[in-house]
């Protein structure tokens, strides 16, 4: 593997095959927690950590695990990794754990993680598997933060509220109230709002892609791939 293929793996995970916007895996935690930027960021980072650890373990064990039992083996590996991360957070960053605690077990239910284990880590060496895990995790985080920002802004008129819970006292200064005395727009904070806004995000991404393709090739728009 050379640098350009690493870059391809990275850009695939981050953008071309973005878990939230293209592959549409892991929608359960995505829709459940993205009512603020901070919640989205917290779950995104924890998911990235899980992806790194599970991709590495699956890649290292890929010759030992027989194909017939690979799915239960991956489930065991991912569940172990998530529980270890939960225990470590509980022991060493207890305050953050108290905020994100209920979301951590949700990571196990994110099918994007088993998806990367099956589609990538089980067929590649450790380094590309790590890069893939990092890129997929960051791409998922990006989606969570974008959706969180849209919902928080529409629903409450703020951005990064409760950042102090995550970044300590330094985070307090990040908390922005963009629309003072805003009455709030409840639907944006509830699951239906998450669905609608995610749909708009996907549409926006597809529009961006279509415009780029049209600009790079003068072919008619018909040649675009259909949205996933």
């Amino acid at each position: 593997m050379n640098d350009s293929s690493y870059r391809k793996i990275f850009m695939d995970g981050l953008w071309h095959q973005n878990t939230g916007l293209v592959v549409l895996l892991g929608l359960c935690p995505l829709l459940a927690v993205t009512n603020t930027v901070v919640n989205g960021l917290g779950l995104g980072l924890a998911t990235t950590l899980t992806l790194l650890a599970s991709n590495l373990s699956v890649s290292l064990a890929r010759h030992l695990i027989r194909p017939e039992i690979r799915i239960p083996a991956y489930v065991l590996i991912i569940a172990s990794v998530v529980t270890v991360i939960q225990l470590l957070m509980q022991a060493f960053v207890h305050d953050l754990y108290r905020v994100l605690g209920i979301f951590i077990p949700l990571i196990v239910t994110n099918c994007a993680i088993i998806g990367r284990a099956e589609a990538f880590a089980s067929r590649n060496r450790a380094v590309p598997a790590l890069i893939d895990g990092l890129a997929t995790g960051l791409g998922f985080t990006l989606t969570l933060v974008l959706l969180g920002a849209a919902r928080e802004l529409l629903g409450r008129g703020t951005l990064l509220s409760q950042a102090g819970l995550m970044f300590g006292s330094a985070g307090k200064s990040l908390e922005l109230t963009l629309i003072p005395n805003y009455d709030g727009f409840l639907p944006a904070l509830l699951p239906p709002g998450a669905f609608i806004l995610l749909g708009l995000l996907i549409a926006g991404r597809n529009g961006l892609k279509a415009r780029r393709q049209a600009a790079s090739s003068r072919k008619p728009l018909l040649s675009q791939e259909t949205p996933a």
Binding site: N35, I65, V84
Partner: protein
């Protein structure tokens, strides 16, 4: 023959993964468990300190504990824990750990510090499952709402004003979330009423061995 061998090999390698995973988990658990217990204990003391300042008492609060049930004031069979704060043996306040049962989603667990004169020294939400981004504004980390209870008593405000503003009372509610604060206000009022009726029992009942505090 080969098929049977394959099955055995699959089963063994799956068992190996399970054993490795379990070994990893028990290893991490044994390394972190004492630290986690210590963090939990500190979190409990920190929470108790938020509803009653540590300078007000000189006894070991987390050991001077009783627990009891009272269906009239604390419904749905919940077990209430009372931490008794004393200074030089004299009772100064009690911290009740109980739950509001009429929330939007499950019980809202509360801590309420009640001074001997019947005023609230502070109220905090210790855990809840209300809608994130809506009902969770009763949490101290998310808004100052819950500090509005400090200094209140059954006489201040009057009993008919112990309600959220929408119901004609004095306590704020949040846009789109009336159920959660309504449940908390009602539960705190009930706790004060219990204190008024059972002050003697709360301070004089012999200490029971604490079973620890739920998160």
């Amino acid at each position: 023959m080969t098929g049977l061998q394959g099955i055995w090999r699959s089963a063994l390698s799956l068992a190996a993964v399970a054993i490795l995973g379990t070994a990893l988990l028990s290893g991490v658990h044994s390394v972190t468990s004492s630290r986690i217990a210590e963090q939990e204990r500190r979190a409990v003391l920190h929470q108790l300190g938020q509803v009653l300042s540590a300078s007000r008492y000189d006894n070991a609060l987390q050991n001077d504990v009783i627990s009891f049930q009272d269906e009239l004031y604390f419904p749905r069979g919940q077990t209430v824990t009372a931490y008794r704060a004393r200074k030089q043996g004299e009772p100064v306040a009690v911290i009740l750990k109980f739950a509001a049962v009429n929330g939007y989603n499950g019980k809202i667990h509360l801590l309420a510090g009640i001074n001997r004169d019947g005023t609230l020294s502070g109220v905090r939400i210790s855990s809840h499952k209300e809608t994130p981004g809506l009902g969770d504004f009763v949490e101290i980390g998310k808004s100052d709402w819950v500090t509005g209870f400090t200094g209140k008593s059954l006489k201040n405000p009057n009993p008919e004003d112990w309600a959220v503003k929408r119901d004609g009372g004095v306590f704020d509610q949040f846009t789109g979330a009336t159920i959660t604060p309504r449940a908390v206000v009602e539960a705190v009022q009930r706790a004060l009423e219990f204190f008024q009726a059972n002050e003697q029992f709360l301070f004089d009942a012999p200490t029971q061995i604490s079973t620890g505090m739920d998160p």
